[in-house]
């Protein structure tokens, strides 16, 4: 009787150790799982290929192609110089798509001439990026 009792005690002890171990390990597994992704690198690349779609004529298609060429081969090699958001090249292509090739291009050129830090008082500023806000302008916009 005594022996059985002792065995039973041992068994109980073993059982508890097993349970404790299981919970402990499952907890640290949870930790590992939770902290597994904290050094993940996110790539935030803008896909400029979307501008190739929705062109209404050949001139716009040409402009979009030039834009894509500029963005992927030239602008990519450049520290960010433009003081605006959207940048001058994006402004140009959006302006062309909104106002047509001639007028849109002219507004884009005008934007290039304004791309300096001489007149920050004319624009709102983004706090986080320190860029000036100058969204594209439609020629038939009222007021």
């Amino acid at each position: 009787m005594e022996k059985i009792h002792r065995y039973f005690n041992l068994l109980l002890l073993a059982f508890f150790i097993l349970i404790i171990n299981l919970t402990v390990f499952s907890q640290s597994k949870k930790d590992i799982e939770m902290l597994n992704g904290i050094f993940d690198q996110q790539n935030q690349k803008t896909d400029y290929k979307t501008y190739m779609r929705g062109n209404s004529n050949e001139f716009q298609l040409l402009a979009s192609g030039l834009f894509l060429f500029y963005k992927s081969l030239i602008s990519s090699q450049d520290g960010n110089h433009c003081v605006f958001n959207p940048s001058c090249s994006v402004y140009m292509i959006q302006s062309i798509k909104k106002n047509g090739i001639l007028i849109g291009f002219s507004y884009g050129i005008d934007r290039l001439m304004r791309c300096n830090r001489l007149t920050p008082e004319n624009y709102e500023r983004f706090e986080t990026t320190n860029l000036l806000s100058d969204p594209v302008w439609e020629s038939n916009e009222k007021e």
């Binding site: 390990f25 907890q27 930790d31 939770m34 690198q41 081969l73 990519s76 090699q77 450049d78 110089h81």
Partner: protein
């Protein structure tokens, strides 16, 4: 009389029970909130915990604060979670809850990239912890130091998590930390200097062939333009036309070489970190 009375009492009791089943006291409110929490209905849970807090009169404050903090944590509102963890820490008298909360706060900091604060919290823990909490602390410190780029300390803490007899795992972790490629390459400054000497070479060093050729061709073409202008027209014309563009893309080139190297190094570090965690994870099995 006897026959009327008995059902009367029964009806009374049933009626009153029904009446009371609509009402909610403090315990029931907390229970309801707990249930909502378990069903991942966190916004409602937070509101009900707040109701309980408002009427609790100082009872169970630590538990309520902690649950609210958990809900915010799950919703990735780490600032708010930290605030309520702090309140819970201040109100509780239970040491093991205090320890648990410190780990929770450390998690908040680690997930928001504030490794320094995470280390600071873990340093606040008492030295006399159970084996379980000591191991957990080591693990958290190892991660914090990895984030702070203090790889020596990080390695030591990771190694201390593996028992002496697991020689294979230990040597693997050692190897991961002592292979330069895993943590220190590509070196951003090397990439920058290389690109300063020859545009594109820094990008090549990081293994980014596309950007390397792109940078070389672009700066090269402006050099060519300058040379042609100087020959055809004058040196003044060359300086006026080609030079500003050359400097723009020359500078852009070596800065982007540095950035590419930093990015690639971060990716390698992340890979190394995940491998180490895998080894730790396997040793727990």
């Amino acid at each position: 009389m006897k026959y009327i009375m008995k059902p009367g009492i029964l009806w009374l009791m049933i009626f009153s029970l029904q009446f009371h089943s609509y009402s909610q006291n403090l315990e029931q409110t907390i229970e309801f909130a707990d249930k909502q929490f378990a069903q991942q209905n966190y916004q409602l849970a937070v509101k009900e915990y707040q109701r309980a807090l408002f009427f609790a009169d100082g009872k169970k404050l630590d538990y309520l604060y902690q649950q609210i903090a958990h809900a915010f944590f799950i919703n990735k509102q780490f600032g708010q979670a930290l605030y309520f963890y702090e309140l819970s820490y201040k109100t509780t008298k239970n040491d093991s809850i205090k320890t648990e909360i410190i780990f929770n706060k450390s998690q908040c900091y680690l997930l928001t990239g504030d490794y320094k604060h995470s280390e600071f919290e873990l340093m606040n823990l008492k030295d006399s912890l159970s084996v379980y909490f000591t191991d957990r602390r080591k693990f958290y410190l190892a991660v914090s130091y990895f984030g702070m780029e203090d790889f020596k300390k990080s390695e030591n803490y990771f190694l201390s998590l593996l028992p002496e007899n697991e020689k294979e795992g230990r040597s693997e972790v050692y190897k991961l930390f002592h292979t330069k490629k895993n943590l220190y390459r590509p070196n951003p400054n090397t990439a920058k200097v290389l690109s300063m000497i020859l545009p594109g070479s820094g990008q090549m060093y990081t293994g980014d062939v596309n950007n390397s050729l792109n940078s070389l061709l672009l700066t090269g073409s402006f050099v060519m333009l300058g040379v042609v202008m100087a020959q055809e027209y004058s040196i003044l014309d060359a300086i006026l036309t080609a030079f500003p563009w050359f400097t723009r893309y020359y500078k852009g080139g070596y800065l982007s070489a540095k950035k590419i190297a930093q990015n690639k190094r971060a990716i390698r570090r992340d890979k190394t970190y995940k491998k180490v965690l895998e080894i730790i994870n396997e040793s727990k099995n």
